[in-house]
Symmetry: C2
């Protein structure tokens, strides 16, 4: 990428002709030879989507964006003062999906008008927008409150974790009215809850009331779970439409949950050469008119070099050979796999 | 929605003619009169995207999906055995973005072929696919390990939180080679780190080595932060390209970070009637050919009823009046706002 010949090649691949080409998604810094203006000299209708770190062009990663927005401060056991960063790189996952939206929207515009364009956004802006979308900015500005840690309680409705007789931990949800009534019925706590409502002088049919009185509700539900092992109520909870789940570790989830195995048509057993064979997901989206593509093993870094140079850049066999000879490009490299990273 | 007249109206709105119509995104159960087959009798090329709870059609919410997959078990202070659910409804945010991708992809197919279709997916499958995409399923199956809690450490590279002289907490990142070298330079720990490498007999230029030896690295970096307040190094860290951030609460973030204020062109001060005025985000995506739409106040539930009935369903003023009269539809209702929920 540092040699003029390498840059020329990359430009040729990015700006290749065709309706399904000229679509460039990157998280590199888009300056100089790789900016939209320069690339568009080679294909005027180029669509380019660039994901930056923050709007100032500084680098940022999921683990630096997240603490800046306040989530670790609101995560963890009630009463604790230690911030807890979540393990899921959620902002990467969200921004990655937004990049696809940007690409599809810009391609839609190109198809209708013939115009290409550049779409810029940043990991931090994606997160900041979500902070607003979730109502958290409004909550701070209007209520003047700073949300404390609520442990594993669902915020704004009823949802709580319980330890069962067999030591397993479950999460039960009473967010919607249907879920709330189903939970009381399945645990036989309707009468006890009606007595609580009488004591409080307040109906728990309002989700906000359920959140405020969650400790009292939890006290009434706890004995049911302390008396039963998960097996004793799992089927009944499912048949009665209770929204619930069991806390599992990653390994327990992979080994015990059929939804994470090839029993789920989304998963296929795929051999990743040099690593092993394990359930690998296809897209979660199931289109009725387009067969879901099965996942394939990740290619080695450089595995597609020749094919791309021939089919996309349109080079001859002789030209390709000389690029290999002078070291401008390389073929598959030992143990390096191509891995997509959102940062 | 329970009256035949109501259902007929909804069908008419969903299946209205035009290139920009006939696009239906829902998280309702799509059975009976609202399934794709029935609706497609009114518009054959209908595109419909339905987000379910799980693939079996059971209800699920972010807070029930997340424990089932193992994230709370791997989140929280090192050595703790308490699962910690994260506060961000990450799976809702991810699935919501996937729904947009599905809609745009299906509309793209329709534009090229004239065919409509149904796209089904579930919140749990979206999360399960991400578990695979992140390599966690492979990690369990190949290494046979169950990832323990690593506190606020960045997994697989170097990233750690530090308490500064002024009591503030910062996160610093040494994930890429450039970030790692920048961090050592800015903290003046190059020599100390070279001595650590000599003692270990191992180079820390490999990110995996940095993760394994993170405790020793943290020991060498801690004195710098213990000696300095954030103000003392913030500008230098930024100018030297260190990837870092400060832990803030939601309120601190909103009050202190200009990226969450109208200084950021993504945010506008919007008055939400009956609630207040606060920074509200536009889309984080900035298209060069399409001006970014400013955010607007959320409409009251029912505020657009008349307009939709006239412009989309094509009803006359008389027909609309009679629908209001017989209670099939209602206008704006007191304090109920229309809120999009991914579950």
């Amino acid at each position: 990428m540092k040699s003029p010949k390498g840059r020329e090649l990359i430009t040729r691949v990015i700006t290749a002709p065709g309706d399904d080409a000229g679509l460039f998604l990157t998280n590199l810094r888009v300056r100089g030879w790789m900016d939209h203006e320069t690339l568009a000299k080679h294909r005027a209708d180029l669509v380019m989507v660039a994901l930056l770190g923050d709007r100032h062009g500084r680098a940022a990663v999921d683990y630096s964006v997240n603490p800046a927005l306040g989530f670790p401060d609101a995560t963890g056991p009630e009463g604790s003062t230690q911030p807890v960063s979540h393990v899921l790189p959620a902002w990467d996952c969200i921004a990655g999906n937004m990049a696809v939206t940007a690409l599809l929207a810009a391609e839609r515009h190109r198809l209708r008008t013939g115009q290409g364009q550049e779409v810029l956004f940043s990991l931090k802006d994606a997160a900041a927008a979500m902070l607003g979308n979730l109502g958290i900015i409004g909550e701070v500005c209007v209520n003047g409150t700073d949300r404390p840690k609520y442990g594993n309680a669902l915020y704004g409705g009823y949802g709580q974790d319980f330890i069962c007789a067999d030591g397993a931990r479950v999460m039960v949800i009473g967010l919607t009215d249907r879920q709330w009534r189903g939970l009381l019925k399945a645990t036989g706590t309707q009468d006890a809850m009606a007595q609580l409502e009488a004591r409080l002088g307040e109906s728990l049919s309002d989700e906000g009331a359920r959140f405020r009185h969650r400790a009292a509700i939890t006290d009434l539900l706890s004995p049911f779970f302390a008396r039963h092992s998960v097996d004793a109520f799992a089927k009944e909870f499912d048949s009665k439409g209770v929204t619930w789940s069991q806390f599992r570790s990653f390994a327990q989830a992979v080994h015990e949950d059929p939804d994470l195995s090839p029993e789920n048509p989304m998963f296929h057993m795929i051999e990743q050469p040099g690593i092993g064979t394990y359930p690998t997901p296809a897209s979660p989206l199931d289109f009725s008119r387009i067969a879901r593509q099965a996942p394939v093993a990740a290619p080695k870094l450089g595995a597609d070099t020749e094919e791309v140079l021939a089919d996309v850049a349109g080079l001859t066999a002789g030209e390709i050979a000389s690029l290999f000879d002078d070291g401008t490009v390389t073929g598959p490299r030992g143990d390096k796999f191509f891995v997509n990273a959102a940062e």
